[in-house]
Symmetry: C2
Subunit: 942 residues, 2 copies
């Protein structure tokens, strides 16, 4: 089209200099009391904000809905009005004078109106920012005295034909204006002073300034109705230099464009619509470019035509024009629109610019790319060397990027997750290995491994932790060594050393590149399994509380007298026997001399059992209140965390406060329920942190000797179990790393799969020597770590969605978390107030939260939704529902098989199962077309 042709010409000229962002303010001519003034009625940064006349407030930012009519009228205005491009202007009076002179010169306006027009155009500007708060009390008395101001009579007639209402108000305005024009000159001098060259304090104080980009320039739209004109006075002005024109604009932004429309009376609405149309055009990325670069009137009109060609039209019967449309999450970028313009040149995209419904079927989703980190270099240590080269430049920023308030919340949150994990796995490991590795080892190991990894690892956002598969391996290993009279610690050391060596082999040979065969299918399988383990563990532990603190279900308050639990002495003989066999302590001496009923009844439950007494009574096996209290704490912590997290999206309180509450949701929930627990003073199970630094088992030291206890050939044979451990660690570590490094997290500092694995290997060896548990990346906590460090853009135009900018990538939070974990040994006095059920609630939350981001989970939900209620996922637009369901079903089956295997002794080959998932994925290529897989999963590399 000729318009597009013209635009390509002017836009293509010097595409190097970007044009400033435009802020548009529209002022309309109003009658305040006896004076005429320009009153701000709307403004645009990107979306429209309107002044609510009655509400005296800004509306929410919304998409400007225009009428086609107004756009055509605007086009006519630009065709007939005077266009002044690159006018040298330094003050408003001078500019106005030039405009009017030009109009007179062009014969558009008779010279005798010059003074009147200049008078009107130089009236005072009133902006919405000047909130007349001081009036609020004064109003109370006034409003009842001056009912005619708001004219309740007019209100009460409820004229259904709004037309006649408008007619009346127009006449009203006319009579007022003529009266004001009567005493024209007395007001002029005062009004002129208002238009000064320097920004007023009101302007400078305006907080709205921070919503406007720094380079912004203003465009002012002035729309008014006057009685002395008989045809519209239209002028479009571009100044040669952006100039601050006193109080013209509500913010101290220099004005570049002026659009003036003064018209004869009776068409206020029409004029307003034209004003809105030009204002909307001015903030349009493409048109503002045109406005900056236009050489003449025709360029501007071509810009309008191109805009018209791109507009989206809503049918009047399907949409109510009164609805204000909320700004969309994403709008087409200016670049994209310009490229469409250039494609039009080729003449192939006819009618597709606004193709709302057509065209997307040919598209494919953006492929999940793993980047160059996983390329197979083929050189010795090639990947590792690249990783180090990639990470070194960021090392300093890795430290100072951590200094941010958000880090505090992240550290607290992850710290609590870590110590909960350390305590849980420590306890379980202690059980499994007869305390060869207990809570103490777990704490110190976590602190050591975590700190080292965060200091030197390739991806410091990854949090190391004990994981389920490793626990199961240790359990089986301990049982094996006990049954075969092999020294467990020594055997474990050798396995660790072999495994470390194998890791090094994987590192030097760039083996991590096979990770790229892991698609969403495999990742989702793995991470949902881990999430389910978190959830089921939390629930299991809660159920265990009901077993540990049984409720006396038959309790009748009235028969409280029949509930007791007494310690009854055993036969005298057996009691003496006990004392004889036991070494003679002071306690036992006392006991021997006091074997009366009274003594026995004062023993505690444990003592009673210890001294061989029998517990008799109906309340012995019950513990009141604790189970239910634990349940309340568990559910309460979970629900409060969920609610506070959601609070971010509520309407209450300023955004910053809401974000703060949401960021600290877990801490707040924990503190609240710890407080509640303290208040009720119930003896709920509390977090138990070891106080003294010594190995849990007294017969082992802090260093394991590699030789002497087992036959020599074990040193070699441990190669085989080590292979299993290596696969396990490799898979566990690298899948978590892939999930952390996902494109959607927008990480900028690159990742280091090889470097990560190197340090995991080193730590394997160190931990084995010190008899500490082995550590590997923990998916759920790592994701939580990333989530708590997400950054969003702060300065955005009103209505624009804040953009997810990326993650605060740094090493500080990780290091602090693990240093704190180490120091927790000294924090016992504080930590001991945290009830365990509260921590189980946090576990449940972490499991559920990490599930909710997974597409697999969204697809499972689709089973329960009738097709018409399903969300508009892009894959549903492109893949038939039954194929989607089939794909989900395959995933569910795989997960079920994994879950069953995990629950049996086969758990040890769990990592191999993940490899199995990759095979299943390969087989899916036979079941699904590549098109479907591209939408539901990723396409496997060749």
């Amino acid at each position: 089209s000729p318009a597009a042709e013209r635009l390509r010409h002017i836009l293509g000229e010097d595409d190097t200099t970007p044009t400033p962002t435009i802020f548009t303010e529209m002022d309309t001519l109003q009658h305040d009391g006896e004076e005429l003034e320009w009153k701000e009625s709307a403004r645009w940064v990107k979306f429209e904000e309107k002044v609510e006349e009655g509400g005296e407030r800004w509306s929410k930012p919304h998409v400007s809905t225009l009428t086609l009519h107004s756009l055509f009228e605007l086009r006519t205005c630009l065709q007939t009005g005077s266009i002044l491009l690159d006018l040298e202007g330094y003050s408003l009076p001078q500019i106005v004078e030039e405009i009017v002179d030009r109009q007179i010169a062009d014969g558009l306006v008779p010279p005798d109106l010059k003074e009147k027009i200049i008078f009107v155009l130089l009236r005072k500007h009133r902006h919405q920012t000047k909130k007349p708060i001081h009036r609020s009390l004064a109003d109370i008395g006034k409003s009842s005295n001056t009912p005619s101001n708001r004219s309740p009579q007019v209100n009460l007639t409820r004229s259904t034909s709004s037309a006649s209402g408008i007619h009346r108000s127009t006449e009203d305005l006319r009579s007022r204006q003529s009266s004001s024009l009567g005493h024209l000159h007395p007001a002029q001098s005062r009004s002129m002073n208002d238009i000064s060259d320097t920004p007023s304090t009101d302007q400078l104080k305006n907080k709205f300034m921070k919503k406007i980009p720094r380079d912004a320039e203003a465009s002012n739209v002035l729309i008014g109705e006057v009685d002395f004109l008989d045809k519209p006075f239209v002028s479009f002005v571009r100044l040669a230099q952006a100039t601050t024109l006193g109080g013209l604009t509500e913010v101290p932004v220099p004005t570049r464009f002026l659009f003036i429309l003064l018209g004869p009376q009776g068409k206020t609405k029409s004029y307003n619509e034209i004003g809105r149309a030009i204002a909307t055009l001015m903030v349009d990325d493409l048109f503002s470019d045109v406005a900056y670069k236009a050489r003449d009137r025709d360029d501007l009109i071509a810009g309008v035509d191109e805009f018209l060609d791109e507009v989206i039209v809503l049918p009047p019967g399907e949409w109510d024009p009164k609805i204000r449309i909320e700004p969309p999450k994403k709008v087409p970028s200016a670049e994209m629109r310009k490229s469409v313009l250039n494609l039009n040149e080729l003449g192939q995209m006819n009618g597709s610019a606004g193709g709302a419904a057509g065209g997307e079927d040919d598209e494919l989703p953006v492929q999940h790319e793993l980047g160059e980190e996983l390329k197979f270099t083929g050189r010795f240590c090639g990947g590792l060397w690249l990783d180090i080269k990639r990470k070194i430049p960021f090392y300093c920023s890795d430290i100072y990027d951590g200094f941010h308030i958000q880090s505090i919340s992240a550290v607290l949150f992850i710290y609590l997750g870590c110590i909960t994990n350390a305590i849980t796995f420590g306890g379980l490991l202690g059980d499994a290995t007869d305390n060869y590795q207990g809570v103490m080892e777990s704490f110190l190991g976590t602190a050591l491994a975590g700190t080292v990894f965060c200091l030197f690892g390739g991806q410091p956002l990854i949090i190391l932790s004990s994981t389920g598969p490793i626990l199961i391996f240790e359990k089986l290993l301990y049982e094996f060594s006990k049954n075969n009279s092999i020294d467990y610690m020594e055997l474990r050391l050798w396995i660790g050393l072999h495994s470390c060596l194998q890791c090094f082999l994987l590192v030097v040979s760039d083996a991590s590149y096979i990770i790229k065969y892991m698609t969403r299918f495999t990742e989702e399988g793995f991470s949902s399994l881990i999430s389910f383990i978190f959830i089921s563990d939390a629930i299991k532990k809660m159920v265990a509380a009901f077993k540990y603190y049984p409720i006396n279900r038959g309790f009748k308050p009235d028969y409280v007298t029949s509930y007791k639990c007494e310690c009854v002495a055993p036969d005298q003989a057996s009691a003496v026997g006990l004392n004889v066999s036991a070494p003679m302590s002071d306690d036992n001496m006392t006991l021997l001399f006091n074997l009366t009923d009274l003594d026995w009844s004062q023993l505690s439950k444990k003592e009673c059992v210890k001294y061989g007494g029998a517990l008799v009574g109906s309340s012995c096996k019950y513990v009141p209140d604790l189970a239910l209290m634990s349940f309340i704490l568990f559910i309460g912590t979970y629900s409060m965390t969920v609610s506070l997290k959601k609070f971010k999206f509520s309407r209450y309180f300023p955004t910053k406060l809401r974000c703060l509450i949401s960021d600290f949701a877990i801490i707040l929930a924990i503190m609240f329920f710890c407080g509640l627990d303290c208040l009720l003073e119930l003896d709920t199970p509390k977090l138990h942190v070891p106080i003294q630094i010594k190995p849990t088992r007294s017969d082992r030291g802090w260093f394991v000797l590699p030789f002497g206890k087992n036959p020599w050939w074990w040193y070699l044979a441990s190669f085989v179990p080590a292979l299993l451990v290596t696969i396990l660690i490799f898979m566990d570590q690298q899948i978590s790393a892939v999930i952390v490094n996902r494109k959607e997290n927008k990480l900028k500092k690159g990742c280091g799969y090889h470097l990560d694995l190197f340090w995991v290997g080193v730590l394997m060896a160190v931990c084995s020597f010190m008899g500490l548990p082995w550590y590997v990346a923990a998916t759920v906590i790592s994701i939580a770590h990333i989530d708590s460090l997400k950054m969003e853009s702060e300065c955005s135009a009103p209505g624009e969605q804040p953009q997810f900018l990326g993650v605060r990538e740094q090493r500080l939070t990780g290091i602090l978390v693990f240093v704190l974990t180490g120091l927790s040994v000294f924090l016992a006095p504080i930590l001991q107030y945290i009830p365990m059920p509260v921590l189980y609630g946090v576990f449940l939350y972490m499991g559920v939260a990490s599930l909710s981001g997974i597409q697999f989970w969204e697809r499972i939900k689709l089973y329960l939704m009738p097709p018409k209620h399903q969300p508009d996922f892009s894959f549903l637009r492109h893949v038939p529902l039954r194929r989607v369901h089939l794909f989900t079903l395959v995933q569910i089956l795989c997960l079920a098989v994994l879950w069953i295997l995990k629950s049996t002794f086969l758990a040890i080959i769990f990592p191999v199962m993940i490899l199995g998932l990759m095979v299943v994925r390969k087989l899916l290529d036979l079941m699904f077309s590549q098109h479907d897989l591209a939408w539901l999963d990723d396409i496997l590399p060749d």
Copy 2:
């Protein structure tokens, strides 16, 4: 404008016959295997539903977003193509032949193409309804074998420029089409059979039919690209009679309009957009009228022009055309749009048709009208007589309208509310009056009063119940009579009789008309007070459970042996003394002979206290588990009810099931938590329903004698307290009635304020004679009753919001509720399983739910919201925020004063306080302008 002029002419001709609704189907020419066929690609009832090509499903209904370009192209098509109006058509082949002949006659198409065009137009039509489900398994093997079908190669090239992709697929299509046209004739005969005269089974079975109004006619849009044309072949056909044209349409709806666009190749997207444009126009209320009544081509073009004049335009930079816009809650009605058309005639509404942002400031909210029920007739019994006349015609429908599944849910819900209320107030009354009125009286009174009121009252949706103010009055009255040795029951009877008489006076004098001075301000004050009472009562009762079942906070599980509670015998002497003074029963005899330690220890707590024993031990004053269990039941019932109510708006399960779950939310929550309670077998406090029908106090009968016990002058003096009761009853009853009869409930059978008051008066007298409590309308339960009977429209076009149609107005649910309440005396064995905390949870829910509908509550929330996050309430657009806040503050202060008064002895003049609220409202006229009050409240009548 000339277009509007033309339209006014044809639309004004015969406005009496409404045109049928149009269903539009758009089919595009596709290449399936080797054959050409027409494939359905979108359909419109009111909104657009698109076939998702890849997803093989219907998209969600959405607003059709068009391009301006396509509308202009469509206009050109209508200008140049052939227009056949009122064509006599009986079968598709005949119609197609006539179309092509006309084109040839007009010289638009060379005659040699006739056969080819007819061949293409008579191809088989495939509709989206035929879901190839059977394929789903067959696909599994196939898709991998025929990768070329979906061409993964194309997918994998990930061409960012979609233009070239389109280019390629177009060429693809061209090559396919030319190959199919090669063997043209063999397929023809088969295809012709497909177009039969009778609807196929597929059509008849199509469930979509129920979404289309009965009178609907179809318009078929056929869009295709062929290689034998060099300019577009466009035809717009209106048949003289709507005719079923075989398999043309997916549903058996007769076709009235046909739009055919066949064009040369290379512009598929453009053609599709034109097709969407005409389809959208066809379902537009105004254009479809034009299409039915058009006399010639120019009329149609005028219709398009008028449509263009009304369209809403979205700027390309502020909206992404790919977003499918959800249908709005409300669209401008066709009548409104036609009236705008007529107003245009007056030439005053220039540019206001699509005035998205302008014009609403002059509007006033629709005033709250009370209707003629509250007019002051000035005649004796005038209002009562009108009430009876108004209600009589509905009496039969009042019964049979109740037969609906929804009634069951409503009955169960309200029944539970009623008995909870009856038990609560019964218990409180029993306490207050030394059991002169107890739970038994409360049950029977509720049943009696409720049944009578629902049978004969003016507004049977109102539920009578005991209320707080009455309770307080009874309490004060009983204390007064006890202190002054006056017979309570006789005094109460006389007060009741006086009050009944006073009610009659109010009825005959039409005094209820003063209710119209009660505006939203007064109503909101009253109903939020009642809601707060519900909420605070529920919480108070829950807190009381913690006092009643104290938790042993210092309990240490290990020291269970030291917790016991023993009944210790008092001195032998005092024990004997007890036995001597008490009558000698068998029990006491046994006791006397067995005053050993053993016996005492086997006594229950109550027995022990009864026989003068002392309870010794640390567990005596504690009750385990019950308080916490009660709390879990309370919170659980409340949260489950809230969640299930919200479930209606979730995406899961079909709409009907969700509505069912939401309707039965309270019952489901009660059943679930009763089940949980049964499962745990804990002795939580249960609902206690009396079993035998006898007065709670044995020294009173079922009939109170009016004379004999008090001095005669009391019979007259009771006039004074009766006056207080009358005011109380009048206010309580009528405010509830006003709330129930609100406009927004869309009640159709009228109300009967005078009749209601008459029956309340009668029941006062009856209840006084029988010594039963007094009853009056209960706001919260009545609102719950209405909410549970709300009706919504079922059949609506896809995407259209179901409309709230009104309330199932009938007497059956009310009657059943109260009959059940009466029968509850026999239902004790079932009801005794319901724990009281569950009912408190229901109370809490009722209080919170009735608050949530109140604008006052919404305004309170505004205090906590920063202005930019506040919802777009219409009053916020018209009243400055500080005025809104000021108004809310006045309401909060009034409420606080009421709350304080309620908590003191002044509670008895509570109804007078409501009159006080009306005075405050009158004073607000001095503080606020009528404009502000019209938005925030209602304007007082003169």
